[in-house]
């Protein structure tokens, strides 16, 4: 899978493209670990380019969520396709991490999380 990283203020935006599955999920975790080591712990995952996600990909999103929470950060999964959003729903993972349809709203939530403003 391809991961393109950019910044929006001090928010990290990761544009994911390809399949988020068992054979690729470790890539995402490795990238997030590198960022977390440098104290970038508020991350937006733009999933609009993810064609297919399985439970390994979902598990990796949950691992990232857990990792960032532990350091006082936050991850937001934005713009999943209907098929990917369905996986968050049927597993109820969307009740544990933020999954939203709009990228701008995701960035706003992450900025607000730094200032303590209502999300």
């Amino acid at each position: 899978m391809e991961i393109n990283i950019s910044m929006d203020g001090d928010i990290v935006v990761m544009d994911l493209a390809g399949d988020l599955v068992a054979s690729t999920a470790e890539q995402l975790k490795a990238q997030v670990e590198k960022l977390a080591d440098k104290h970038f712990n508020r991350i937006l995952l733009d999933m609009s380019g993810v064609n297919f996600m399985d439970s390994s990909g979902l598990g990796m999103c949950m691992a990232v969520h857990k990792m960032l929470l532990q350091s006082g950060g936050l991850v937001v999964c934005a713009r999943p396709s209907e098929a990917v959003a369905k996986i968050f729903r049927v597993t109820r993972a969307d009740q544990k991490l933020r999954v939203i349809p709009d990228r701008g709203e995701g960035v706003r939530i992450l900025h607000a999380s730094a200032t303590g403003a209502p999300q």
Partner: protein
Amino acid sequence: MNRSENRFALVFEPVFPKIDEARAALTAFLQRSAPADAASFCGDFCLAATEALNNVVEHSGASRIEIACAVYPDAVLLSIKDDGKPFDPTGKVSLPGPEAGAAPEGGYGRSIVMELADSVHYRRQGSLNALTLRKSWTKQSRGGR
């Protein structure tokens, strides 16, 4: 590999990159065989198949996987056989509720299979695990809200 109009079969080594290839081949087969409005069906069925295959790689220690898919007017059947140790993925599973504490990172695969397939049957067939997934063309999964 063997393909005819409504049947598809494939044998492969149980490693994740081969599962990616098998999923791509199964997806292409279903898209050729499915009704025009069945895109969601194909996505759900291929995800259920992927999860079942991931389970083989992760749990059974097999050296070989054989899949066979048949398309019928009312449903699709997928048979998955592997030569690993006995592993029944149909045992009772429950999803963690929102009240649970730490977010789990695994354990979703079996529940996705059970959620997205209409029926899942396991039996030990000699030295093989034999799993069959069935999904109707018309029945909506519970996650389709």
